[in-house]
Amino acid sequence: MKAKHQRLTLALLAVAAVIGAGLLALSALKDQAAFFYAPGDVGKAGPPVGRAVRLGGMVQTGSIKRQPDGVSIAFVVTDGVATVPVTFRGVTPDLFREGSGVVAEGQFNADRSFTASNLLAKHDERYMPPQAAGAMHETRTLEP
């Protein structure tokens, strides 16, 4: 094979690979990107039922209720504008507590409640997920 041809073949292969990767990534993104909701966003248009989304905000003080089966909990997420009731089955993260930031992964139910499959709590006393911070409409700052 001539040098020129080889270079051309390689370049074409590379371009094809890049386009392939882009298409693959975009098609997967369309299905899989989980949109982020704050409780205040839900009221306006109603929640997307049955899609994988994230819900972020603060755990309302006094709202955590342990369920009779011992492994499920119910609590309320608030952003100071609206609230969403959440149920979760599993061991809660170490830093999950009332009055603290949380991001719940899961889906909305038809009655506007939320079933979480995973909870993400803030990891550090000084740290709040930017999403949760945004959801609080900057009523709290990052630094003390």
Binding site: A25, A28, D31, Q32, F36, V91
Partner: protein
Amino acid sequence: MIAEAGLAALWLAAALAALQFVMAWIGIARDRDDIMVAVRPVAFVQGLLAVLAMALLITLFVQSDMSVLLVAQNSHSDKPLLYKFAGAWGNHEGSMLLWVTILGLAGAAVAMLEQNLAKPTLIATLGAQAVIALGFYAFLLFSSNPFARLDPAAPDGAGLNPLLQDPGLAFHPPTLYIGYVGISVAFSFAVGALVTRDVGPAFARAMRPWVLGARVFLTLGITAGSYWAYYELGWGGWWFWDPVENASLMPWLAATALLHSVSVLATRDGLRAWTVMLAVVAFSMSMVGTFLVRSGILTSVHAFAVDPKRGSFILALLAIYIGGALILFALRIGTVRQGRTFDLVSREGALVANNLLLSVILGIVLIGTLYPIVAASFGVQLSVGPPFFNKAAGPVALALVAIMGVGPLLRWRRDDAHELIDRMMLPIAAAALAGAGIFIATGGIAILPFLGLMLAAGLAAASVAPLWKRNLRRTPLFTWGMVVAHLGIAVSLAGMASESAFTRETLVAARVGEPHRVGPYIVRLDGISPAVGANWSALQAHLSVRRGEDGNWFVLRPQSRFFASPPTVTSESAIATMLDGQLYTVLGAADGQGRWQLRLWWKPYVTFIWLGGGLIALGGFLSLLGRVRRERRPAYREGYA
């Protein structure tokens, strides 16, 4: 005084870095030997000063000097010594100083040890190193001074995040940083070669040990980080596609591609422009890995408290480094002459396929990591999680594994497709056998893990095939390295597929005395008792465990720990490691009616994931050793002079 001395050392080091760059520039532009000669010692002293600054910072942490802001914010006098020591880099400023320290050391090593490279190229390389270091010094001195004083001094420190109080902290960040720095050295070599128009096998041979070494450390760092997250976070997962994990994976992917293309350049003089391009990409990825994490636009455990001014500084630095590298590449790549050609069915052809597939995976991970940031700037809040990465990157990774099995069995330059199929019979048989065995034993599992296990079996057979009919004692060390590293990929892949297909989970609220089943195990809660450590107190579950109805009882003690400074609760999982997997137990909260949450997993062969990672690193190390030993031989050096 110590803090002031540290700051002075930093300023001096920065000044020397500036001098190093100017001298390299003038020396090369004017072709002045007397100036070029002086660059090496300057690089050496710059490295020493950076090490001194880091040593002084560690001293401050060990002494718990609360008049230093960084110590007061991140340390506490009652911390165990190891974490005072490692706590020096468990924060933003300290970790940046560690980075530049390793960079300085690497620069000193290049200056003192590199003997085979043409002198102007070496000097240009050191000049490029100085520019990289300058950016870091500026960043430290102007926006992240680790030696800033606190007046009046704090009575005691705020403490270290308890999640970080783990031996992993002493190990995980430095190994990753050594990896990043190694890549930056490789990049500097590429810049040096571009500046002096010297892109060829000699430059590739100088660069290769750094790429190999960087990749060994990146592999170790990622493997250790994965295991650390696995046992420390108590979620039972080993990879979360967290942006920060991706930030360390992307340089690894780029370094892996670079490693394979630099081999082609060093031994066959092919893929010149492509190798230089990959060096630029790998460096960009390691900068993204270092900085994106710190810039505060990512949500993660690793995002330390952020000051917005610092974020802009970081983004500007990123733009300068990556933009500068790309501009230099665009200006000079026309001068790189075409290397030697090859057939598509050849070792080179397989390596090109390897490079393309790795680049595709890199692209997918990059898109998935940055997409939420781009979307956020258009006012859309979303997150991209494991389903995306698994679906998009998984199939490409499996294709890459298939190529990996074929590549080493191909000849350089050109090969015959029919002969190749003969050579592939054994691996194909191994894969088919594994597939049939799994199907009969389990009655079918999800498609990706199934393909993963089949390919792992095939790759394991294929990766040892290059040793077939060879005298094992006379096989070069770097061939052993390749065999071990490829085998490591097979082992790791088998672990991942097995974990995803066969994990059993039980979540219960357990009463004392009640037995619960998870996989083949029976777990009984015998009681909860208090436990105390150096700076924590804990509730500890006493779990009696046995395998099957007539196994021997043994005990696991998962804890729920309470740290006083800062006040935090963490769960310490208890893990029993068997030959065929791990039993993973986590203690949750009490429900007030005498029941305790227990989360139990049986994860067959999950250990293979990290065992494989260890093998990949070992393979890289063997190759490195083999290359260095061969290239130190005078006869070899003259042969290529």
